[in-house]
Symmetry: D2
Subunit: 341 residues, 4 copies
């Protein structure tokens, strides 16, 4: 069996694992006040060219989104997000559990359009009854999106401009950030993300860590009480050094981007081989998630040898499926998959 | 420097670490549906003699308490707890953040008395205005307590009886459960805990795991929708197998109790050596936390070589300090400490 | 100036006001335990043919919806509702503030279709990732809807059947219930509502009371701790007798339905006169809210003499406007309005 | 039967009732944007010598406390309050339901001491683990307290100074404000309250209104989005003019203070007569609530003719009882009561 189901199926990248092993018997203070966490903060600030950014290490994505959004919004505000957003669909209502509405916008392959955001905000304040409605208090986008697509630098700049004009923070969910930044088409860098977003997170769980997400706050007026907020959200790990150490490793010797480039390269080869065989790629994704429409008999045959996900319900004669690569996908795995189609 | 500050300062017990290493490249499904988690569930059920218990793996203690308590209480209910309870003092309001009041009871060295619980409940329903007050909806205790003390079997049975009479669940926070069960004086077993509590958790973070807590639900009518609740609370780890695997290891070859006994033995030696030298042990703790009143000059001198915590504010001439042992404390560490006093 | 803006612009129906005056100096116990509240409960049970129903008096609509929905849902559940629902659009996020997501369904003039509800529930449980999503825990509809439309008895029976099959409660927001039940086309009665819904509320604020809404719980397994829940939601009026007394009056001598029929009759005359003059009625509403597309010059001219609401943004040459009648609309008001078009 | 149970047992003061009657058929816009509400705002600003204060009208006390406290606190903060505070004891967890902990301080007859507040805050920030604890984010006191006692001007000034030094708002619950300000011993005025508190509310429900509380925000940096917050809390009355009109009346011709003085005068006579007969006044209350220890046979005998409340459980031979006067207490009622003791 070979696995293309998702990018969180194996443990940690060997370099990360080795560091955990090397430091296992060291004693450090808890809750992220250790030297490894401190160094990871510095490395991330450097990568982002944001020397004053606050950086925090949390455990998982849903937890990170709930903590950040709860910290950014006033009680009467909601979070604008594309309808396909992870926070709207697959977080079991974690955002609403903090008391806030997700205000949905149409999406195109997971991306939201600047004018949709702008119009929503303008229409809202033009509505005479707006004080009876949930105010748009921030914008959430993901990079890459749940469809593997990425925003161009121009698009991000436009979204950032609209948010700053409306004085609401732009928050970027970067659960797979490295797989986005590593895409050949990508004209966005860590520094751009840090410059254009007010808050974002650098995903670790899907990028080679056992677990862990690094929240970066570049807008100095926001999230000034993050530590008790993290504690309250159950997001403050006792052995915080485990998270710091992993990000320290990921941001040493370019490991984070090496992982990104490796997985994306495999994914693009996969896409080329599938399309060369006549299978339709249904989303124009330049990252580690690839979506194809396959005939059902092929879907059934593949299922015996390959793990992957159906994307939506099974169709009459063909279905859309998703293949995901990661640092743990081997070239061998890919060759086997290709040999089967 | 040697460290007695707490039991979450090192990584994982070597046997746990080895298993993580051995399985690092395996691909498994996420969210705790993997074989390691399934085996860990079975091992825990066996240890508890509770073949029908539900078992769930969460990441940290505050998160676990918030998730369980939120799941057990109706909207108008609060949780009874000793005033010294971790949920009341050191969880940054995580319980209140779920909408519930912590209803405090007097405590003696961290323990609550059965008659205090009983009287609280009786007085509550006798009060004519009780419908305007927060109803006691469950009882929270910790085993061992924040003071290292443990309940006797008789005390647990009495608390359980009072809760069942009042039809409210008894929940035991077992962040350090193994260090309690391993105490020489302890007449309580896993099976007793499982029989007397409705829900409890077996702490992993402080007992040899990198992180992780195992919630055991023995009352079949409770917490029937734990998975979405965990997700909502940011407590559902994508790579759930990491938690399952660690508990699988901890419950294989008696590792969990071996760790408990090892740390407790060191702690008792520590206590004997301190009291032999005339220092007052201020809490009668039979577990891995020991508390002494030491003259301030000794406190200052020790601080240069040993990590430990002040328990409360520094006194005029003497202060109370806490020493904690764990699986990662070596006999060498203990010898060094003793040689310094 | 004459007013057709809404049905909450005047005080109370004279019969209600008289009772408040008559009893003003009486002393009664608080929080709805008085004799007037008790009699109102009995009268409502009779009207609903539901002798065992629980009946509670709250102050306003948003408050009532938040309290009931918070009481009906488990933590991991959300409330299904048409996208146009008041709880989704015009309650400032009051439902989300209780921690629950509003799960929206398409609507047709404010009404939801049975098959949409059924499909949503079926698709939800067929989705492999459903444990990561918000479970549909109840259905919210309004009668009449925000568009003045009403469900037929057949439609309500079908919705009720779907909900019972799925074992989720059906909750009906009856802020304007009397204006719906009084419609000529309406084949639904109080008794039907009580039989088909699990919980509903009988609106007082828009139906002749100063303020007040009566929640009726016909499903005996639900909302067993309503009083502390009301208190917690700030919905328990100290002088509860004010609410009881008003509903006592509204349900004496058929006042509630007299008010309904009176306002609906005026509204239908209004509609006939407008359509007779060639103006398009844009919603097929048989109740006290009427919607027309009017040329902008008429809209402007009317605005000088008549209060009414634009329904959505002003158009290029014509706009949709809403006229609302109530117990406080006089025939004189209506004649004046008609003379102006 | 005569009634001294509480100050919310009758309807509205006749002057208030008359105004409701006089304006009953007027049509006004909703949600407090009407002329009566606007005039009430101006009258309250004048009374408080606070021309820039924001003033909002809500329905009841628990609702007001929950809305204000939710609006003032950041997510990680709690509200300091005397242990006897209404928000801590008798609001069914409404504060915790908004996600915030009530941090309790010792009290003396309902009052908190300045040094207790100061020490709590200092000790909190001196505690090394304070980031794991709930930060004191505001101070709640009531004036008069639940025991009928009042703070002196000096005490209020000291509390205000401590709060400003700590940069946390001081919030005063004035459910019975008029009965406090009218006390002969009282050296505090509306203007002092407005100057020393950041936010406070002027109680209407217990002071002659059918219902209603007026929140006054004198600190211009706070509660900038009160209207959607009120809506979210179910505290925005559709017929907002009912509240505005009542406060307009209460603040016209000094009615509010006339009511206060009238009820306090009766209460003081009551106290004098009881103490003259040798009964012990157990709280030194100068306001409309009076507390006595009475022999049980007197308690029993009185119960047949007089409504009053036991204060705490019934004693062996004597019990503490509370008598409350209000605008609706007549001199006749008082004479009858006195004739019975």
């Amino acid at each position: 069996m070979i696995y293309f189901n998702s990018d969180y199926m194996a443990g940690a990248h060997p370099e990360v694992m080795q560091r955990l092993l090397d430091t296992n018997f060291e004693h450090t203070v808890g809750y992220g006040c250790d030297q490894y966490s401190e160094r990871a903060v510095e490395l991330i600030r450097e990568a982002c060219d944001a020397p004053k950014a606050q950086v925090f290490f949390l455990v998982g994505g849903t937890q990170t989104n709930a903590t950040v959004i709860d910290g950014l919004l006033a009680r009467h505000e909601g979070v604008l997000a594309p309808e396909s957003a992870h926070i709207n669909v697959h977080e079991a209502g974690a955002i609403e559990a903090t008391g806030h509405k997700v205000l949905t916008l149409p999406h195109c392959e997971g991306k939201v359009r600047t004018d949709e955001v702008e119009n929503y905000i303008n229409d809202f304040y033009r509505d005479e009854t707006f004080l009876h409605m949930v105010a748009p208090g921030m914008l959430y986008i993901s990079f890459p999106t749940e469809y593997g697509t990425i925003y161009t630098l121009g698009e991000l700049e436009a979204l950032s401009r609209v948010c700053r004009k409306a004085q609401i923070p732009l928050y970027i969910d970067g659960a797979r950030l490295g797989y986005g930044l590593a895409a050949t088409e990508c004209d966005v860098t860590f520094k751009d993300i840090a410059r254009l977003a007010d808050v974002f997170y650098i995903g670790g769980t899907k990028m080679g860590a056992l677990m862990g997400e690094a929240v970066v706050v570049t807008n100095g007026t926001l999230l000034k009480n993050m530590m008790p907020l993290m504690k309250q959200h159950g997001a403050l790990l006792a052995k915080g050094r485990l998270l710091g150490l992993q990000f320290d490793t990921l941001f040493t010797n370019d490991l984070y981007m090496r992982i990104g480039r490796y997985a994306v390269e495999l994914a693009i080869t996969l896409k080329e081989e599938f399309t060369a065989r006549g299978y339709e790629s249904v989303v124009d994704s330049p990252t580690n998630q690839q979506f194809f429409r396959l005939p059902n008999d092929l879907v059934d045959r593949l299922s015996c040898h390959v793990g992957f996900e159906l994307w939506g319900p099974k169709g009459e004669t063909s279905s859309v499926v998703r293949f995901v690569t990661s640092w743990s996908t081997t070239k061998n795995d890919l060759d086997k998959l290709i040999s089967l189609v």
